[in-house]
Symmetry: C2
Subunit: 341 residues, 2 copies
DNA sequence: TTGTACGCGTTATCAG
DNA sequence: CTGATAACGCGTACAA
């Protein structure tokens, strides 16, 4: 029961009859300290079980070793992989990662941003909540030179770094693929229009139809707020009970796409002969559903790593105020749910 | 460009011509401060955009508002839901959550524990790495009265709080169910024996066989380190190419179970007639595979919430040194992959 | 009810 | 190469 208060650099300094500054410097291999002193100090530190108090250091330096992350729901394959990437990269650089979920609610996002700001994170990675249309809660970071990097669900209203995929061309590719497989009545199960990822995928879909001179029909386009399994079923039910049902559906996420397949199979509809189904994200379920789901790869881990790198880089060069957008390549993954030939 | 350094209680004190301590107290509704003063202070704080510096407070109080989490891989359904539960509960109490992944490596776990310790977290939630068999890296927390709560993958070697499910009875139920469905040669796809969750599930399996007077055959028990999709295929291949192959397989996770079904289907084996397959975890894929996978529910979010509560509670009553084990109920989810009648 | 003064552990600056 | 000192922002014993 010796160190109720923990070992500090003062304790080490006392033991070695040197000053605390020397100890402080020695511990970080400062160039002005002799090799021997460094060895001495580290030996004693080791012996006494010294652990640096990063709180104190943070107070002094006015910056922590934490980077914050705000995402919608952590328990989604894309998101958890994204975080995995962030965490790996941050860890490598000696940073910790603080997670908070917005649950797709604007109010939560604002509250989380505030809590993270108060805890003096030295960088923030955000994937926007579905609801969010106002971005003032990020200005406190920007004003104080704390880097903010947006991932996947981003906004153009703020001038900051972004890591995204090319949603437009992905939507285009996916739709074109359905056309090439003989799709004539291609439906779209889409998400809310004010979130870039869905808007751009839809634009890609529309462009592909136009380029191939396929008439765009409003009734083949559905916007759903959640795009979860239940809504997937409802969407399938809606489309497949039309007088002139689609012969192909492009769902902008895999969750809904899988539900669509399950519903269609239940109705005795043959996939892909009667109905081709295309998803988005390459979630694990896309390989489990029978027939396997064609989808678009979404490099979650890579995106996480890049976002973390952006934050760390910005942290290095505080003065340079340029904003980068990194756009990653995606791949069309053609599987049984669309292969007709 | 006024507050390069941010607004502090001193600024507020100056503006109101009172002392910093008054401001400090007013901001936390200290009983000794007059209502009016409190209102004044808060108004000015609001106006100036004051944000408390929790670093400084942490240094003073020697505790942060962060709780740490060490898990194997964040991008697994069970784990990400677990974290979701922890995060929700912690957030509600004004705490942030710091995540770090061990990737099932002992060395990583030790490094993470150290990093979290250095960052002065005020509590730790751990689900042990597969490799871990030595627990010294947690003693620094315990020695310093920082609560450590183990979840799911726990150890008996440390006297601390635990949140678990009853793996033994779950394994027993699952196996018994397979027996009731006519299984006579029931195989087990298990994980490493030194991790409680797998060991206990196996014990449940063995007990069920004994209770029903079914001979235990070594060749029907396989231990795999990873239990991922690939190993699932290998396990299936192994079992199904035996001279006398099993007519039922209990896999201790869903990932491997799903692969087993996929492999078997590819071999023209009928599920569940020729082979009943039982999983564990109730991952999303269990509802996507055809036939749907019978499995055991694993209340991940609930476990996360409870673990967070334990940490927070221990933080309240620092002196009380008792260790609780919370054991949650699980449910057998019978689906098409085992229903034979 | 309010103010004074010190300390939490570290690090930057300046001096030697 | 090493030491003394101040400061980071807040909380609290003690004093008034």
């Amino acid at each position: 029961m010796k160190n109720k208060k923990g070992v500090t650099i003062y304790d080490i300094a006392n033991e070695l009859k040197v000053s605390p500054s020397t100890v402080s410097r020695a511990l970080k291999d400062h160039y002005s300290i002799s090799k021997e002193m460094i060895k001495e100090v580290k030996k004693v530190a080791q012996k006494r079980g010294y652990r640096p108090n990063s709180i104190a250091a943070s107070l002094r330096n006015n910056r922590t070793n934490n980077i914050g992350v705000i995402i919608s729901w952590i328990n989604r394959p894309f998101i958890s992989s994204l975080i995995s990437g962030i965490e790996e990269e941050a860890n490598k650089a000696g940073y910790n990662v603080i997670i908070s979920q917005s649950h797709d609610s604007f109010d939560n996002e604002v509250a989380n941003a505030r809590a993270l700001y108060d805890s003096r994170i030295s960088g923030l990675v955000v994937s926007l909540a579905m609801e969010t249309q106002n971005y003032d809660h990020f200005s406190q970071f920007i004003k104080n030179n704390i880097p903010v990097v947006f991932v996947d669900r981003v906004t153009d209203e703020l001038n900051s770094d972004k890591v995204v995929i090319d949603n437009f061309s992905a939507g285009f590719m996916a739709t074109e693929h359905l056309i090439e497989q003989g799709g004539e009545r291609i439906a779209l199960a889409c998400g809310s229009q004010h979130r870039n990822i869905y808007r751009e995928r839809e634009n890609g879909y529309l462009a592909a139809l136009r380029e191939h001179n396929i008439p765009i029909k409003e009734e083949y386009i559905l916007h759903s707020e959640l795009l979860n399994a239940e809504e997937g079923f409802r969407i399938a039910e809606h489309f497949l009970s039309m007088d002139n049902p689609p012969d192909a559906i492009f769902s902008v996420n895999d969750t809904a796409a899988v539900s669509i397949i399950q519903y269609a199979k239940g109705q005795g509809i043959e996939i892909p002969q009667d109905l081709a189904v295309m998803g988005f994200n390459n979630d694990p379920v896309s390989l489990i559903i029978d027939p396997q789901l064609s989808t678009v790869s979404h490099p979650a881990i890579e995106m996480g790593k890049l976002a973390a790198q952006q934050v760390l880089k910005q942290n290095q060069y505080k003065d340079v105020v340029k904003s980068e957008t990194v756009m990653l390549r995606t791949e069309l993954l053609v599987r049984a749910s669309t292969k007709r030939k």
